[in-house]
């Protein structure tokens, strides 16, 4: 039986009822349980890994954009002379970077959901007590993080285009 409220008020009420409870516990008891504490630390560790993975992905994106900018700075400079506008140039790179990030985040989220499903039943810190672990997919968080990552990717892409426009094309042409 689940009850919401102060344990001090609920326990006497339960004792006086005809239910005759033989074991009463509270959320603070559960949280103090060693197995639950270990599981919580594991999840915190996984969160730190996820943040590190995100930072690594951002670094990879920056390196990708830098490599792309280096390899295509002459092509970009020539395209600008052919009529490619500054906005169009920045928008193209922003869309490319944004698409890369959006697809990567989307695929990552999908893989996370698919791999969590078969694993969730095996990570119950208190297997003797109900309820069984419940899978809750944080759709809103997933959508928000995808949107935020895509926006960050687009911003970085646009910034890369601006920096590329300022790079020394003559130097690139000279070492051709």
């Amino acid at each position: 039986m689940w009850a919401r409220g102060s344990p001090a008020a609920i326990e006497p009420a339960l004792a006086a009822s005809s239910l005759a409870p033989f074991y009463v516990t509270t959320p603070s008891h559960i949280r103090e349980n060693g197995s639950v504490g270990a599981a919580r630390r594991s999840y915190r560790f996984v969160t730190v890994i996820a943040i590190a993975a995100g930072a690594l992905s951002l670094l990879s994106l920056l390196l990708y954009l830098q490599a792309r900018q280096r390899s295509q700075r002459i092509a970009t400079a020539l395209a600008r002379r052919m009529g490619l506008g500054r906005l169009g140039d920045a928008a193209a790179l922003a869309l490319e970077a944004g698409a890369v990030v959006a697809v990567a985040t989307g695929v990552g989220g999908l893989v996370a959901v698919l791999t969590a499903a078969p694993v969730i039943g095996h990570v119950d810190p208190l297997p003797l007590y109900a309820p069984r672990p419940v899978a809750v997919i944080p759709w809103l968080t997933l959508a928000a993080s995808t949107a935020a990552a895509t926006a960050a990717g687009m911003l970085v892409g646009a910034a890369a285009a601006v920096l590329a426009a300022r790079s020394d094309v003559a130097e690139a042409l000279r070492v051709a």
């Binding site: 092509a75 395209a79 002379r81 052919m82 490619l84 094309v169 003559a170 042409l173 070492v175 051709a176």
Partner: protein, 434 residues
């Protein structure tokens, strides 16, 4: 096939499969190269010369046939054996020499201890402490060859080793290769260079029958208002003049050539004309107007030594790009240019799926597409065989007939025969050729 051959190819075929269709780069090629000799692979641009060299270097695998180097079937090599083969048996230098060098290491670092003399013999004594990315194209070509020679492998595989070199630098390379062969090393190279071909003991034509057209039509000098006028232009780097007091004048429909050695200041002059760099003194006027602004493509089109085709677009889309970006559409013009430069069959391929020579012609077609007032071309035939170079000169002549003022910088003396005006550039000083 002689049993003493160091490099043998038997029935080697290679077909590239791309989204636009498959291309048979090589068909049943037979080849045997003896120890201590130089074999030259020749043929028109796109005939598979570079492909064969890459197969021998084991950078790619043949679809059929067998390639043996020093008795080893190179296609069967894997892992450590493959790395050992590339490191100790066959040194390969790519057509884009920069690809064979580590950009942020100096020439001396890449040569290794005790090998500085190899580079000095190729005219790089003063550039030993320069990083590869700081070298000019010609210097990179010689540095890459020096590194390959320093590795002391019994086999050298060189893709167009003199393509970007003037005669003096090419002579140094030819001398170094003659010495290498005399020392017993086997050299397989691709080339269009007549002097290098003379040195080769074997010549293998991968596309027999493709002869260069006879005769050259020299353009007349045109008098009239100048479309391109360069007045007393100077540019210095670190206090040293790379271009000094240069004046060049071209009218509508004129084709001019600036002749000069590698490092003489040709590219710097062209970059200043194209507003890729700001000159220290002097002016550039296009169609009578002096401007500091970057000229649009239809006013001044530029063919650089690095072609900078967009890799995601097909050859046709690349050529049509200047028209598309300026809101025009002229499919007939694009098709005509592609056909004129023998690129019609390759129109739907991506730049990475065609040879460097073909990429260079595609870049020229892209430059010419919007009928620019002025075309500036830096070494437009550096990666072309004789027949393809003739196509390039024909395209430039046709552009001039169309009214474009074409200025070409090159180290090839033969280019003077095509031009109405010729200048020579020596240590940055430009003088009209008598």
């Amino acid at each position: 096939m002689p049993e003493t051959a160091v490099v043998t190819c038997r029935g080697v075929s290679k077909t590239y499969v791309a989204a636009a269709g498959s291309v048979e780069a090589l068909h049943a090629v037979e080849l045997a190269v003896e120890a201590g000799t130089i074999a030259a692979l020749v043929g028109r641009s796109g005939s598979g010369k570079s492909t064969l060299l890459r197969l021998i270097a084991s950078l790619d695998e043949p679809d059929a046939g067998r390639i043996a180097v020093l008795g080893t079937d190179v296609a069967a090599l894997r892992g450590r054996a493959l790395r050992r083969y590339r490191r100790t048996s066959a040194a390969y230098v790519a057509q884009r020499a920069a690809a064979s060098l580590v950009p942020h290491l100096t020439v001396r670092e890449q040569l290794g201890a005790g090998n500085a003399e190899t580079a000095a013999g190729l005219g790089l004594a003063s550039r030993l402490d320069a990083r590869a990315e700081q070298l000019s194209g010609g210097e990179q070509a010689r540095a890459a060859l020096a590194v390959a020679l320093a590795r002391d492998t019994p086999v050298l595989l060189l893709d167009e080793p003199t393509a970007e070199l003037d005669r003096a630098a090419a002579t140094l390379v030819i001398g170094a290769l003659a010495t290498a062969a005399a020392e017993g090393r086997t050299v397989v190279l691709t080339t269009h260079d007549e002097d290098l071909l003379e040195l080769a003991s074997t010549t293998i034509d991968l596309a027999p029958g493709a002869e260069a057209p006879e005769g050259v039509h020299r353009r007349a000098t045109v008098t009239g208002p100048a479309l391109l006028e360069v007045r007393r232009l100077s540019k210095a780097y670190r206090g040293r003049f790379v271009v000094e007091d240069a004046s060049v004048r071209l009218g509508r429909g004129e084709l001019g050539v600036v002749l000069g050695r590698s490092g003489s200041g040709k590219s710097t002059l062209l970059m200043a004309i194209g507003r890729f760099l700001r000159p220290d003194a002097g002016s550039v006027a296009i169609a009578g107007a002096e401007t500091q602004a970057v000229p649009p493509w239809h006013t001044l089109a530029y063919l650089a030594q690095r072609f900078a085709l967009l890799p995601e677009l097909s050859v046709r889309e690349n050529v049509a790009l200047p028209l598309r970006l300026s809101g025009e559409r002229d499919d007939a013009r694009v098709t005509a240019l592609l056909d004129q430069l023998a690129l019609g069959e390759l129109a739907d391929r991506k730049p990475a799926e065609i040879s460097i020579g073909q990429q260079q012609r595609a870049a020229l077609a892209r430059a010419l597409a919007p009928r620019p007032a002025v075309l500036v071309a830096d070494e437009p035939t550096s990666h072309q065989d004789r027949a393809s170079a003739a196509l390039v000169w024909d395209a430039l002549s046709a552009a001039a007939d169309d009214g474009t003022a074409c200025l070409v910088a090159t180290h090839e003396e033969a280019a003077a025969a095509h031009a109405g005006r010729v200048w020579r550039i020596v240590d940055g000083r430009v003088t009209p050729d008598s």
